[in-house]
């Protein structure tokens, strides 16, 4: 290399050093701002009457209040939100709520009975995705105004047309769709008959501890503190959901202190972060359950309709291997349809991988060389779970062909009952055992609702009666006992194989205190978070 070349290189080096030198050193997140790194690409709407994706769910408990809510640290306890107290009617068909004195929305408007009536009428009439939850109360656009009414300036009466108990009705009212919105604020932004839906998709009108300050789709969501919230002033001034779609980038951000919380990291990333200085990994039980559904109504593979095949399938799953080796502690083995932590859930896991037993069951039933197609979402962990199932079913002499598809195609197939078997997940919609029981243990053929049991072609009038009896039951202990019986029946005799319950692993900086997350997807609370 000659002198001129050296001089050129030195000049280039100096330029680079100068450029780098003018750049700022990395900045830690401000002390009064909580930065959450996650993908927010799923968000469609932040209107509680419409939003049904994970990101909006993470905000609803922070932005809105309901009349009654589940306790942030103990989800099984019900407590007043905007309601100070409530009284059940003697006929068991309505509850009268007394609203908290002096409660105000973030706008400064007082919370009135009219707001409660407007919120419920609005959600029912809009008929967006989560409306099926309110329909459990028998609420319809044509009857809602007669069921919910103002009693006086501090009382509101909420009734239902469905044959259900008041405990169940209260559980329904804890769902995000039952959030109380500020009528004056929302109505002022209404266009035509949209009840302000277009505006509320990206704005908020609640009384929670935060309000939506800014939202840029696929970029960021900023929540600002609402110091006058009836739930109390939050400890941080704002929460920023920063959209970081790539898990590796999220890991780098939390590691560098440029994010305070990171979600949805892979098992390997969690393992590499655990024990690092400044990092805390918390595992919260999640209500998400992964299961296999067998379409017993599929005539192309007659074995799928044979209860012996369903029974054998339960012994052809490597539960322990999937939960503890393949998915490295992000799941626990759970073999019933109610997740651990839900009222009424049983924790009996009677099945283990036992190919010899499965073979004997199949042989006794005369089932030989069974082949079927397992449809799964083409995303982890389902592709991994499917491969494990393929290997373990092969040990029992059953050939399983994996069909990976995009999630919406999978659900399209399930809705049309156009599949052989599928591995997928389930989330309860509200914090009550009926949320899952009504899906997995209620099937009355084509005449009834198209539940998960219907999707499996499982017609079960007797179990459906039991499920209905459990919803109507007022005594919590008797209700729990009824759900226990139903779970054991489904566990033993259904074309559904429950495998896993998820653990939500969240990575936090060690100076973040007071973050609370419950078992249900909406039970995320930032109100008590502070950074030391």
């Amino acid at each position: 290399m000659n002198l001129r070349a050296l001089r050129t290189l030195a000049t280039a080096g100096a330029l680079v050093a100068l450029t780098v030198g003018m750049l700022p050193a990395k900045a830690a997140t401000p002390a009064d701002v909580l930065v959450v790194a996650q993908s927010i690409d799923d968000a469609v709407s932040f209107d509680p009457a419409e939003g049904y994706e994970l990101t909006p769910f993470h905000t609803f408990n922070n932005v809105y209040q309901r009349l009654v809510q589940t306790n942030p640290t103990d989800g099984s306890k019900l407590e007043g939100g905007l309601a100070e107290s409530w009284e059940q009617a003697a006929d068991g068909k309505s509850i009268t709520f007394k609203l908290k004195d002096g409660a105000k929305f973030a706008s400064g408007n007082p919370v009135r009975p009219e707001d409660v009536v407007y919120s419920f009428v609005r959600a029912t009439k809009l008929g967006k995705t989560p409306v099926f939850i309110l329909q459990e109360l028998g609420w319809k656009p044509e009857n809602i105004e007669s069921l919910v009414s103002k009693v006086d300036d501090s009382h509101v009466k909420v009734g239902w047309a469905a044959d259900i108990g008041s405990n169940f009705a209260l559980a329904i009212l804890t769902a995000p769709i039952a959030s109380v919105v500020d009528e004056k604020e929302v109505a002022s932004h209404a266009t035509g008959d949209d009840f302000g839906n277009a505006w509320l998709k990206t704005n908020s009108a609640g009384s929670g501890q935060f309000s939506i300050k800014a939202y840029q789709p696929h970029e960021a969501l900023v929540l600002a503190a609402n110091p006058t919230s009836p739930a109390g002033a939050p400890k941080v001034k704002s929460v920023i959901f920063k959209n970081v779609a790539d898990a590796s980038a999220r890991r780098l951000l939390i590691e560098q202190g440029d994010a305070d919380i990171a979600r949805d990291l892979g098992a390997d990333q969690i393992a590499s972060l655990a024990g690092k200085p400044g990092i805390v990994v918390e595992a919260t039980p999640s209500a998400q359950q992964d299961y296999v559904i067998i379409n017993s109504a599929n005539k192309d593979v007659p074995a799928l309709g044979n209860p012996a095949f369903w029974e054998a399938s339960r012994y052809l799953v490597d539960y322990d291997g999937i939960a503890n080796k393949l998915l490295k502690g992000q799941y626990i083995v759970h073999q019933t349809f109610l997740p651990e932590g839900f009222p009424g859930a049983i924790s009996e896991n009677p099945f283990t991988l036992d190919p010899a037993k499965a073979k004997a069951i199949l042989e006794k039933a005369g089932l030989k060389d069974v082949k079927f197609k397992l449809t799964v979402s083409n995303q982890p962990p389902f592709t991994d779970i499917a491969q494990s199932l393929q290997a373990s079913f092969a040990q029992g002499g059953v050939t399983l062909e994996i069909e990976p598809v995009v999630a919406s195609e999978l659900y399209g197939k399930l809705r049309a009952r156009n599949y052989e078997a599928a591995a997928l997940y389930w989330f309860p919609d509200y914090f009550d055992a009926n949320s899952n029981a009504a899906a997995f243990a209620y099937g009355r053929g084509d005449e009834g609702p198209h539940t998960v049991a219907w999707r499996a072609g499982w017609n079960i009038p007797e179990i459906s009666d039991q499920t209905h009896a459990a919803v109507v039951e007022q005594d919590p202990a008797k209700r729990a006992a009824l759900y226990g019986e139903i779970q054991r029946e489904v566990q033993k005799s259904s074309p559904l194989v429950f495998i896993l319950q998820a653990k939500d692993q969240i990575v936090l900086r060690d100076n973040v205190k007071g973050y609370v997350q419950g078992i249900n997807a909406d039970q995320v609370f930032f109100g008590q978070v502070e950074k030391h």
Binding site: M1, V20, M22, L23, P24, A25, K26, A27, T29, P30, V33, V35, D41, V44, S45, Y52, E53, G127, K128, T129, V131, F132, Q135, A198, K201, T202, K213, A214, Q216, P217, H218, E219, A220, V222, I240, K242, N243, V244, A245, D246, S248, A249, L252, L253, E255, Q256, D258, V405, V406, A407, S408, E409, Y411, G412, L414, R415, D429, H450
Partner: protein
């Protein structure tokens, strides 16, 4: 005048064909946008109502005609996945890509031409080998991997540059968005801390994209330089005593600039399409990511709107390149 009318007509026909092909492709995919929006648990009534609301219950040709009619009226429709007008989504995401692509092409173009000159002037030497290695890496290293590696090294280890995103949280949402381009907006705001922060965030993704584009630019420049240097007029110039500097800047560069401008413009067009992987790794909310998310959601209005913008960009860039090249070399006038 007639030429201009012809140009406009061919532009419109080209865009219509682009829309038609994109529309057809979006319907080949087996993604159900209705389930993507209403979810798996929605009742059949809710599903059907949403399907009708999106116009998906109508025959495909009718759906396309309705959409084309809207576009002609200047309405790109509403995105099914963000719930926002596609036009406002594009106004938000395109400047991010435009800014990143522009910075990247300035770096990539300058370095690419420079390296190509070095390699062409000293063929077979160490400079040529070095440029060849750089080009080879640019061609062969997956950009996703390169992005992650550069983040790991320059952001996480050395702390030279900002991390994923366009700004640190301390500056995000404190600057008024006037143009949507964070460098310009922070500069206009007068907050030099925010401006330096914006530079530190754009630098890495821009360098990664620049590296990717300089590979092609340097190879083409090298070839063009070598070709020119072998021509008789250069030999004559040398015989007449012209120095190397004069030969390069007075003779070689003017003669290769048309090819270099064409390849730089093409690279720029590719970057403007949206560097999907780079935008994903660096959490850069540009048009590439927007289109990818829209495609996974079968969000037809967003896909068509994005495609239209990219198509227009391509046509404008091509036309501009033709005009510039034609201005520089009358033989190539369109």
């Amino acid at each position: 005048m007639l030429g201009f009318i012809n140009w406009i007509a061919s532009l419109l026909i080209g865009l219509l064909a682009l829309l038609l092909v994109t529309f057809a492709f979006t319907h080949i995919a087996s993604i159900d946008p209705v389930i993507r929006i209403v979810g798996d648990k929605a009742s059949q009534a809710t599903y059907d109502a949403k399907r009708a609301e999106l116009g998906l219950d109508k025959p495909l040709p009718q759906q396309f005609l309705v959409y084309a009619g809207q576009v002609l009226r200047g309405d790109l429709g509403t995105s099914w996945s963000t719930g926002q007008p596609v036009a406002s989504d594009l106004v938000r995401v395109f400047p991010a890509t435009f800014e990143l692509a522009t910075v990247a092409i300035i770096i990539g173009g300058t370095l690419g031409v420079g390296l190509g000159l070095l390699a062409g002037l000293w063929p077979g030497g160490w400079r040529d080998s070095l440029v060849r290695v750089i080009s080879l890496l640019g061609y062969s290293v997956p950009i996703f991997w390169l992005g992650l590696l550069s983040l790991l090294l320059f952001y996480a280890r050395l702390h030279w540059f900002g991390g994923p995103g366009r700004q640190d949280v301390a500056f995000e949402f404190t600057t008024e968005r006037r143009t949507g381009m964070v460098l310009i907006d922070t500069w206009l705001s007068g907050d030099m801390g925010a401006f330096r922060d914006a530079i530190s965030h754009i630098a890495l993704p821009a360098l990664v994209l620049a590296f990717y584009s300089l590979a092609g630019i340097s190879r083409l420049t090298r070839t063009a330089v070598l070709e020119e240097l072998g021509k008789e007029y250069v030999v004559t110039a040398r015989a007449k005593g012209a120095g190397q500097f004069r030969i390069i800047f007075r003779h070689v560069l003017p003669n290769i600039r048309a090819s270099v401008i064409t390849v730089v413009a093409l690279s720029y067009a590719v970057l403007l399409e949206g560097a999907v992987f780079t935008e994903t790794v660096f959490a850069w909310p540009g048009i590439g990511r927007y289109l990818t998310i829209s495609m996974f959601a079968a969000d037809v209005p967003a896909i068509l709107g994005g495609t239209l913008v990219i198509g227009v960009c391509f046509i404008i860039l091509n036309t501009l390149t033709d005009l510039i090249v034609g201005g520089l070399d009358p033989r190539l006038k369109p």
